[in-house]
C-alpha cells in the first residue's frame, strides 16, 4: 500500500512531549488558580491537546476534506446541541 507523508517516529515523540508539557501546565493552573482566567486557559490548553492528537496521531490533517468535515460535523453538532441544552436548563431550573 502507498502511504503518504505521516509524521516520523521522532515527530510522534516530540508531539507526545508537547502533550505532556501542556498537561503539566494544566495541572499547575489547577493549583495556582489564577482566578477567572483559569477556566479560559484550561479550555484553550485542552483544545490544543485535542487538535494535536486528532491532527497528528489520528492523521486527520493528512486525510481528505470529506473525513475532516464528517468528524467536525459530529463535534460541531455535539457542541451546539449540548450548549443549547445546558443553557435551557440553566434558564428554566430554579436555584
Amino acid at each position: 500500500m502507498i502511504e503518504h507523508a505521516h509524521p516520523t517516529p521522532k515527530q510522534y515523540v516530540a508531539i507526545a512531549g508537547i502533550l505532556v508539557v501542556l498537561t503539566a501546565i494544566e495541572v499547575s493552573l489547577y493549583y495556582l488558580d489564577i482566578g477567572g482566567f483559569n477556566t479560559f486557559a484550561l479550555i484553550i490548553l485542552m483544545l490544543i491537546k485535542f487538535v494535536l492528537v486528532v491532527g497528528f496521531y489520528m492523521h486527520l490533517r493528512y486525510e481528505s476534506g470529506f473525513l475532516n468535515r464528517l468528524f467536525i460535523a459530529g463535534l460541531g453538532a455535539a457542541s451546539i446541541i449540548y450548549l443549547v441544552v445546558l443553557l435551557t436548563f440553566l434558564e428554566w431550573t430554579p436555584g
Binding site: 500500500m1 502507498i2 502511504e3 503518504h4 505521516h6 509524521p7 516520523t8 517516529p9 510522534y12 515523540v13 508531539i15 507526545a16 502533550l19 505532556v20 498537561t23 494544566e26 495541572v27 493552573l29 489547577y30 493549583y31 488558580d33 483559569n38 477556566t39 484550561l42 479550555i43 490548553l45 485542552m46 491537546k49 485535542f50 492528537v53 486528532v54 497528528f56 496521531y57 489520528m58 492523521h59 493528512y62 486525510e63 481528505s64 470529506f66 473525513l67 464528517l70 468528524f71 460535523a73 459530529g74 463535534l75 453538532a77 455535539a78 457542541s79 446541541i81 449540548y82 441544552v85 445546558l86 436548563f89 436555584g95
Partner: protein, 195 residues
C-alpha cells in the same frame, strides 16, 4: 497519492472501513457530549451527600492521564512500525498500548473503589451519578479498546502478520484508541481541573 485516494473501488475514494470508523467516532462525540453536558448540569449545584469535587485526587488522575497520553504515543509508534513493515515492533508497541490501557483501567478501579469507601456511590446524588456514568462509560470504551488491541495481536500471530487491510486492522483500532484518548483530554479538563 494518499491513503484515501488509493481505494478507487469505493464511490467516495475513501476506504469503507475508515469512513465507517470516522462516522462512528463522529456519533461517539455526540454520545460523550450528552454525558459531559449531564455532568456539567449538576456540577455546581448544592446537593445532599458528597459531591465528586470533594473527593477528586488530582495528582493521581494526572498520573492516569499521563499513562493514557503515552498509550496514544505507543499506538502511533505501532502504526509507524507497520508502515515500515516491521511486524515485531508493531506487535510490541500494540502490547505496550494494551498494557498502558490496563494500567489506566486499574487506576480507575482504584479511584472508584476509594470513592465508594468514602461514601460516594452511583446513587448518592445526581452529581455522583453523572460522574460515575461519564467516567464509567469512558472506562468501558478503554476496555473495549484493550480487547481490540489484544484481538489484533492474536489475529496477527495466527495469520503471521499485521496489515492495513480489510476487517479489524491496526489503523481502525488506532483511530478508536486515539478517540478514547481525546475524550479523556476533555473529561480531565472539564471534570477534574475546572473548578
Amino acid at each position: 497519492m494518499t491513503d484515501t485516494t488509493m481505494h478507487a473501488s469505493t464511490s467516495t475514494g475513501i476506504d469503507s472501513g475508515k469512513l465507517g470508523m470516522w462516522a462512528f467516532l463522529s456519533s461517539e462525540a455526540l454520545f460523550f457530549g450528552a454525558l459531559i453536558a449531564n455532568y456539567l448540569l449538576f456540577k455546581g449545584r448544592e446537593l445532599q451527600g458528597i459531591h465528586p469535587r470533594e473527593l477528586l485526587n488530582i495528582p493521581f488522575t494526572s498520573a492516569s492521564s499521563f499513562v493514557l497520553l503515552m498509550s496514544s504515543l505507543t499506538m502511533v509508534l505501532a502504526h509507524a512500525a507497520l508502515t515500515r513493515e516491521d511486524q515485531k515492533h508493531a506487535r510490541l508497541w500494540l502490547l505496550a498500548t494494551a498494557g498502558l490501557g490496563m494500567a489506566f483501567i486499574g487506576g480507575q478501579v482504584f479511584e472508584f473503589s476509594s470513592f465508594y469507601r468514602e461514601g460516594m456511590t452511583l446513587a448518592t446524588n445526581p452529581a455522583s451519578s453523572s460522574f460515575f456514568v461519564l467516567t464509567g462509560f469512558h472506562g468501558a470504551h478503554v476496555t473495549v479498546g484493550i480487547i481490540m488491541l489484544l484481538t489484533l495481536v492474536g489475529i496477527s500471530l495466527r495469520q503471521g502478520s499485521l496489515s492495513f487491510g480489510k476487517g479489524l486492522n491496526l489503523e481502525l483500532v488506532g483511530l478508536y484508541w486515539h478517540f478514547v484518548d481525546i475524550v479523556w483530554i476533555v473529561i480531565f479538563t472539564v471534570v477534574y481541573l475546572i473548578r
